[in-house]
């Protein structure tokens, strides 16, 4: 089962996220600096992928069909591959899917993949989310 969701990238959200993780570059805060560098608006830091994937990966993790005991869930690993920059004003659609379930002892690894595209249909980010249920 796949979970699909859209996320509208807002300028203030990019600034709030950039500040929360300590990014320094004016590309994330100042639209003029971003425009001078050739972007339409402030540029999301790469790890902002965790934000725009949220509305798809969150419900995928909680999907009762997958049977994940949420309070026992640990985020064990993460991979992102970025393709196109994301800027404020973009609309990102993410499809999340459970792609692997591997038992190990009395624990189970659940691996989800996400694929995010922008409003022009360009691939912006692929993610692999590995979760361990203790």
């Amino acid at each position: 089962m796949t979970h699909r969701a859209r996320y509208q990238v807002g300028r203030e959200k990019v600034r709030e996220y950039a500040a929360a993780v300590g990014e320094q570059s004016p590309l994330h805060y100042d639209p003029e600096a971003a425009r001078r560098a050739g972007f339409d608006d402030v540029v999301a830091p790469p790890m902002f992928a965790a934000v725009y994937c949220g509305p798809a990966i969150g419900p995928a993790l909680l999907d009762p069909e997958h049977g994940i005991d949420f309070p026992r869930l640990l985020h064990a690993g993460q991979e992102f591959t970025w393709h196109s920059p994301v800027v404020a004003g973009d609309e990102i659609e993410t499809v999340a899917e459970l792609t692997d379930t591997t038992p190990r002892g009395d624990m189970t690894y659940f691996t989800f993949t996400t694929r995010s595209t922008n409003q022009r249909g360009e691939l912006v980010c692929e993610g692999t989310w590995t979760n361990l249920v203790r």
Binding site: A20, V21, M47, G58, T81
Partner: protein, 110 residues
Amino acid sequence: MTVTPDRYVTFRYAGASGDFNPIHLDDDFARSVGLPGRILHGLWTMAQVARAQGDPLALKSLSVQFRGIGVPGQEIVITSTPKGDGVVECEAVQGDQRLVRRGRAVLTIR
């Protein structure tokens, strides 16, 4: 790169990211599930590893394993070891906890 998360960082990251899992916000809840107190978001720590790579637009991919438990208020040391062809091996350590191991970043070579 070193970074010391202040005591409010998990609240700011929760608001910025939408991840309000109480293990990151509520010491009592965190202790009730066997943690030492509220812990850092793994994706916040991963964002520090990403930031340590320099130019955010040059980052093509980043892969990490989360292991140790990160807490607010203690310095995190991020080491990045270039391996050639834009590949960088990285890890993040806080005290005796390895928060990120087997990190692998791939950077655009300009």
